[in-house]
């Protein structure tokens, strides 16, 4: 019996040593597998090339890419988060950084950012925009691209009206005067064929004007909807373009259009929206129309050097088993290891070497040297209106007809007065914010 007990003890000891040895070997030299989730199905081929390159440079590392279309991405990745099974590296939207950081679902990147030469390689301003969006003092996401908002203008329409092209020095008055001259009934049937400007309540149509006038929508200390005078002035100026100046159509008159088609179809001569439409226009318009981009005109209360822009980013799972390698891969795929050809035109790479690549402002493609503006914006100050519940109170995507978007549309569609709409907006938006910021 004694022999049997001794034998068992020896066997257990050997087994535990063997087990520990195996564990140690796995931890030190075993293969590392990283899960990488993205939301753009058109990038499948490019993603595989990026992975192949990264795996070549990092033997023993394997990266699996899962692509889920944007419509399902957030539902699926939330379920992953709920199950503590977030992928090591995943695409992160500016709209959710604050909520996810608060819920402890994003790896705090401060130690990596401080330790590495991060800001030699990437624009600090874009990282800082992410930090501001997270409403914390830490970096929770590594941006791979920035999108900003710009004023698009139709050079052919300006030439036909014998007008000088817009400049970054334009004021609201310059803009309004040009819009008046560009609003034309071409065939004399009493209907406007070309409007000076086009907008509706969309975030990318309204906020750029508010920030270029030094305004704000939210009081960040109380986290309540509290548009200041500059913000209200900007929104009044915009709604007056439809209701008083009659240089922009009411959204109800454009309901048959996809909003992004009004400008390229020549129905409006100026338009403010995201810089990613550079890619759309290059592909759709070619050289059928000559167009350019400038900063959104400054208002009397501010300056247009403050840009409304937001990054697209990668984040790391808080429980990733390989944080160093995940960070290394995230840096690689955020621009350090990839080429400009993997970027949609108009999205500004956060990696300086890509943004300063001469091909970014390719003179052979529209809008040519105007693209330098985007680099200037990337290096300058930026702001956004993101908060928790932003989709709900702002009215975005499926809720575009509601929230603040719906209220601004109600004003310009003559369903509500300006004052009535903003009183209602304040009540309903603050109901949402009070629920989320108790």
């Amino acid at each position: 019996m004694k022999k049997l007990v001794t034998l068992l003890v020896v066997l257990l000891a050997i087994a535990s040593l063997f087990g520990a040895g195996v564990k140690d070997t796995q931890a030190s030299s075993g293969p590392i597998t990283l899960e990488w989730w993205t939301w753009d199905p058109t990038m499948q081929e490019e993603n595989q090339q990026i992975i192949a390159q990264f795996e070549r440079q990092n033997p023993g590392v394997k990266v699996n890419n899962t692509i889920i279309g944007t419509s399902e991405y957030w539902t699926k990745i939330r379920i992953q988060a709920n199950q503590n099974k977030l992928p090591d590296v995943f695409t992160m939207s500016s709209g959710y950084i604050e909520e996810w950081a608060k819920d402890g679902l994003l790896y705090n990147l401060d130690s990596f950012v401080q330790k590495d030469d991060t800001f030699d390689i990437f624009y600090k301003s874009i990282f800082d925009t992410n930090k501001a969006i997270s409403n914390t003092d830490s970096y929770y996401a590594i941006p791979f691209a920035l999108v900003t908002t710009v004023l698009y203008y139709n050079k052919d329409a300006f030439d036909a009206a014998n007008l000088a092209y817009p400049t970054d020095a334009w004021t609201w008055n310059d803009f309004r005067n040009a819009a008046k001259k560009l609003t034309i009934d071409k065939n004399g049937d009493g209907k406007i064929d070309q409007w000076g400007y086009w907008f509706y309540g969309r975030y990318a149509h309204i906020e750029p004007w508010i920030y270029a006038n030094g305004g704000r929508l939210l009081d960040r200390t109380t986290m309540r909807f509290s548009p200041d005078k500059n913000a209200m002035d900007a929104m009044k100026m915009l709604t007056d373009l439809v209701l008083v100046d009659k240089v922009a159509p009411a959204p109800k008159d454009m309901s048959a259009f996809q909003q992004q088609d009004v400008f390229p179809q020549g129905v409006a001569a100026m338009w403010v929206d995201g810089s990613w439409f550079v890619d759309t226009f290059r592909k759709k318009l070619g050289n059928d129309m000559r167009w350019g981009i400038v900063r959104v005109p400054s208002g009397p209360g501010g300056t247009n050097t403050l840009t409304y822009g937001w990054p697209d980013s990668y984040a790391l799972a808080p429980n990733t088993k390989h944080p160093e390698m995940a960070w290394k891969f995230a840096r690689f795929v955020a621009g350090e290891g990839i080429g400009l050809d993997t970027y949609m035109a108009g999205k500004i790479p956060s990696a300086k070497k890509l943004a300063t690549d001469p091909l970014f402002s390719d003179p052979n493609q529209q809008p040519g040297k105007d693209m330098d503006l985007l680099i200037e914006q990337a290096a300058g100050p930026m702001t956004t209106s993101y908060s928790m519940g932003w989709s709900e109170w702002r009215g975005y995507g499926g809720s575009e007809a509601l929230g603040l978007n719906g209220m601004i549309d109600a004003i310009v569609n003559s369903l509500m007065s300006f004052d009535e709409a903003f009183k209602k907006s304040a009540d309903s938006i603050n109901t949402v914010l009070k629920r989320l910021y108790k």
């Binding site: 819920d103 454009m254 309901s255 048959a256 509601l402 719906g406």
Partner: protein
């Protein structure tokens, strides 16, 4: 040797065949239904654990003006859709219940919208109803009238979407009505004609009463279908303007998959469940008191 039929049969055998379906129903239907009931008493964004809030979501719903409007919209949409689909479906069935050359083409053409993607239908109708270049408004203007803003007018938007849904789905009900019409014994109609009944008299006094089972069946499925209005609303109005075309189904989508308020969305879904339950009781009532006696 005498062959014993069903030697393999035991009392458990039927359960073996039924089991896959039962398991499927339990996992994919019953479990989500029960889970949704529990979730309707919680606050949950899919992240973390649901927070129990008792009747908080229901209290918020009932105190929300927007929600009351959405319930009203849902019922209005349902009424327009049920009446529209039944009248148009029956009218189309009567029209095509003839044996003429090329009738198969018309039957197929009328049925085509049923199998067309609702999003495509929504986009095309958006173009046709467009105030500036839309063909419908251009026709109205051509006869000297001022066309309305079909989708931007708060009084019209919901009915416009409901009518487009009627246009899309009438072909389906037409086929069912057509089957009902063709089951009517032609001798009865011939006798009526010999006795001097007019076409209208024959239709209202013979055809319709003899189709009561079909009418009831179509009434039941149109009521069910009337709540499935998500796609067209998404493609045409996104619930606007100012919630004027928002319905319970669309509001469930917004709260569950845009705002990630799963608990609140589940509460809305249960209000919808309650309304559908009432409609079902109403259906049974009609069946018991009218249909069975006329059958």
């Amino acid at each position: 040797m005498r062959h014993t039929p069903f030697r393999w049969y035991s009392r458990l055998t039927p359960w073996v065949f039924v089991l896959p379906t039962v398991i499927g129903l339990l996992i994919f239907k019953l479990l989500p239904i029960v889970s949704a009931l529990y979730l309707s008493f919680t606050e949950w964004s899919l992240i973390g654990s649901p927070l129990f809030v008792k009747l908080g979501n229901y209290a918020e719903l009932l105190s929300s003006e927007a929600f009351i409007r959405i319930v009203r919209n849902t019922i209005q949409f349902s009424v327009v859709y049920v009446i529209g689909s039944m009248v148009v479906g029956l009218a189309l069935a009567v029209l095509i219940n003839v044996q003429i050359r090329g009738i198969a083409f018309f039957r197929a053409a009328i049925y085509l919208p049923v199998v067309t993607s609702a999003v495509a239908v929504g986009i095309i109708w958006n173009w046709m109803l467009g105030p500036t270049y839309g063909v419908i408004n251009n026709l109205i203007e051509a006869v000297g009238l001022t066309p309305p803003y079909w989708l931007a007018d708060m009084k019209l938007a919901l009915n416009t979407v409901a009518i487009v849904q009627v246009w899309k789905m009438s072909g389906y009900y037409m086929i069912i009505f057509l089957a009902g019409l063709q089951n009517i014994n032609s001798d009865v109609l011939d006798s009526a004609r010999v006795d001097g009944a007019s076409s209208l008299q024959s239709f209202f006094r013979i055809t319709l009463p003899m189709m009561i089972s079909t009418l009831f069946f179509v009434l039941t499925i149109t009521i069910i279908d009337s709540f499935k209005n998500f796609e067209l609303i998404y493609a045409m109005t996104k619930g606007g303007p100012q919630n004027a075309s928002n319905t319970l189904v669309y509001d469930v989508y917004l709260n569950a998959f845009v705002y990630y308020r799963i608990g609140y969305a589940s509460a809305i879904a249960y209000v919808l469940f309650f309304i559908v339950g009432l409609m079902t009781i109403f259906n049974f009532y009609i069946r018991r008191h009218f249909v069975e006696s006329m059958d």
